[in-house]
Subunit: 458 residues, 2 copies
């Protein structure tokens, strides 16, 4: 049986025989008996196994090293020790797979840098048991939220020929032999490639998502995304997962309602379903994590325009590294100040149009667009979204102004010709959410096998 199912109602198993498979996480053999910290990975908690020299293979078992796989039969008993309520008194222990002395994962603190070099073994440590179960539970929370709110889950394509985001940020994907690229007129002859033209792996599913929102009203994507950024920071990876909901008949206010409700739902879901993992992260990763998350669930999110934010920043008695201006983006130092100023999450709306994307809805002032960034204390910018320009003529004009090649996005613009409506969407980087949920600071530690410049092992 799974340890998780055992722990759910362990008192009912008192005095009963159970059979478990799992791994030795720690082992304290004594002369005539021994204790094993036993885990099968289905829950964060370990079970203490007690065995003694009545076992026929007592000598062998007492030499078993950390990391070994065992099958154990025994009786659940109230524990005499103080640290756990129940333990298992072993009647039979069978060795499934031994582990040698040079096993790199020992029951002691390892640095995260060291564990990163062992990405295939690190999920066996407490930290990564917590992080990757929270990753899994948060992903289910996202599907649960959207599934129960009438959203259709859409698998937008990763391979794309639309380079409207700027193709220098996208990986090229090819079947050509790179040692001998076929040439034509001094250019690679992409007609020889599988798709007959140059193709990329995408950085967004938004454009395709909008087409589906105009048929299903509410949709979301949840899948991997790629960026070629040659940047070695704690928050950049070349492969990461994104959630991109898109809603027809929804303006910027409706969008913020959904962002706020969704985030609270996910955080509450993780608090409810990963109490042991959150407790561990609170204790060993970020002190105050649990309180931070609980506070978010019950907080009111402020809504304020970019203009008014700049006003506040200008009036602040702070010497800024970057002077805030009405025309430009805000910096990390500003984000921090504003979330502290309002003591909670802040939606910043109506951004200067020149620093935002071409598909966003231009406001009546013709200076700003109906965009919104959500700033969360301790997380920075967690989501970015906008109302989309739903007017065909205005969208074409924006394409021209922003040098977007209309021939590559004509189908997308056509959505405005056939029954257009006010619609909005946002994107949330899943890893950014996980950094917030776990307190882990480096994106490399919330991705199973991270890909960053120069690093593509395993």
């Amino acid at each position: 049986m799974d340890l998780k199912d055992l722990f759910v109602k362990i008192s009912e198993f008192e005095g009963k025989v159970v059979e478990l498979n799992g791994w030795v996480r720690n082992h304290r053999p004594q002369k005539e008996f021994g204790f094993i910290d036993f885990s099968d990975g289905t829950c964060f908690k370990h079970l203490q196994i007690v065995y003694d020299n009545t076992l026929s293979n007592f000598e062998t078992i007492s030499k078993v090293l950390v990391g070994s796989a065992l099958n154990i039969k025994g009786i659940i008993k109230k524990s005499e020790g103080a640290s756990q309520d129940y333990e298992l008194k072993a009647q039979e222990i069978t060795i499934l797979g031994l582990c040698p002395e040079d096993y790199p994962i020992q029951p002691k603190r390892h640095t995260r840098e060291f564990l990163r070099s062992l990405a295939y073994l690190r999920p066996r440590t407490n930290l990564f048991q917590a992080v990757f179960r929270i990753r899994s539970v948060a992903a289910l929370a996202i599907h649960e939220y959207f599934g129960t709110h009438n959203f259709v889950y859409v698998h937008t394509p990763l391979i794309t020929t639309a380079d409207c985001e700027g193709s220098d940020q996208m990986f090229k994907i090819t079947t050509l032999n790179l040692d001998k690229v076929p040439m034509k007129d001094n250019h690679a002859d992409m007609s020889k490639d599988l798709f007959g033209k140059l193709a990329y792996v995408t950085g967004t599913g938004q454009l395709h998502g909008e087409a589906f929102a105009m048929a299903f009203k509410k949709i979301y994507t949840f899948g991997p995304t790629f960026r070629t950024e040659n940047s070695n920071t704690k928050t950049h990876a070349n492969e990461f997962w994104m959630i991109e909901p898109e809603m027809a008949f929804c303006d910027l206010n409706g969008l913020m309602d959904t962002e706020e409700e969704m985030l609270k739902f996910i955080v509450k879901y993780v608090l409810d379903n990963c109490p042991a993992e959150i407790e561990f992260c609170d204790k060993f990763v970020e002190n105050g994590l649990k309180e931070k998350l609980e506070k978010l669930v019950s907080s009111n999110f402020t809504r304020i325009t970019h203009h008014d934010v700049i006003d506040i920043l200008k009036k602040a008695n702070v010497k800024w590294e970057y002077e805030p201006t009405y025309e430009s983006d805000i910096q990390k130092e500003h984000e921090k100040y504003i979330t502290e100023y309002f003591n909670g999450p802040v939606f910043i709306t109506n951004w200067p149009k020149d620093i935002k994307a071409w598909y966003m809805k231009t406001n009546p002032d013709n200076k700003t667009v109906a965009a919104v960034d959500l700033e969360v204390p301790g997380a920075g910018e967690l989501m970015g979204g906008s109302q989309r320009e739903e007017d065909y003529e205005k969208l074409l004009k924006r394409c021209q102004e922003m040098n977007v090649d209309i021939s590559k996005v004509d189908w997308f613009c056509n959505l405005r010709k056939y029954g257009t409506c006010v619609h909005s969407g946002f994107g949330m980087g899943f890893e950014r959410l996980l950094i917030y949920l776990t307190g882990v600071e480096n994106i490399r530690d919330v991705i199973p096998f991270p890909r960053t410049p120069g690093n593509c092992d395993y």
Copy 2:
């Protein structure tokens, strides 16, 4: 409100005013009144809107064309017509976005080939409303099944440098300028690429999944997968989604138990949650679809060895195009015969080792491996899996025999050194499942924006 929420308890809304946003799917204007088939995409069913010349904008509304977006306020009433129970008597209709006469999606039968050329509009048709909602619901069913069975959802990487599957089947991914690939010793100088070496997008998450199964006991992946196959058939696409569960402490029988339970769960979930969509597909796509699916849920899956299957095929009074042999794979004609022979799904186990992958568990006969394919009537091979070779020395030997470059998979082999155990996993192509669930025959019609050789539009 969403049409879906209205239909759930429409009788409670009788006599009440509701407000809806959606699109005109059909319109029958008369002289003094009119009928609109109205859909907002949140459910398969349309609502009939009745309006008359008491509307202030009656003339305008009666000229509204199919595809237009409307906001409608009105009262829910028992319908006098026979075709629906309730309808909405409009009090106010506001035009949100008109649709021109040349709108290609008209309320008539379009060929699927035609609709494929309009991938961004086809989700507005009945067929694709059904198909893509079933796709979404089936995806949720998968997460629901694994989430409630203690599996951890793992996002295995798509970018990989491990080419153990045969790199000729994988797309290369690069940031190099293909017009001027930097060369060194007559080869592309991949040290200049973002990862410092040649990288691919992967065709499987299994290897990485096994590493996580050895920490979490039960895991699954569910994500996009890529193949470069230059094949223009109804069942091949270059980008598709796969589900790959992996279970520690699980042998081939346990694997088959999970495959069977999971498949029945998904099919039942779709039958329960998409009754209107299944009914539509049953009527217009595959006659008998619903009965086929219901039969699967209650059927017993046969378990039989490849050897015994060949016996049956050899004894059959059939003139085969491909003669069945004990050493080779079985063909479509054989699959069909066997599922008809047993009148239900069939697990075929213990395949000749030379035609299967290097990581599969060699059976004691040293001729076969503990692999299993699931053959389903009307779907062919729906899943493929195996017990994995858990013995370190035997696995290395298989690598050598099969010419697998051990240096590329050393970490994977090492999993057998550190607490190894019997473990098993399988893969299911999500689109193959959808073809089975919807009756749609062509993989291009179950993928939102399909990518096939020469086709990468949108």
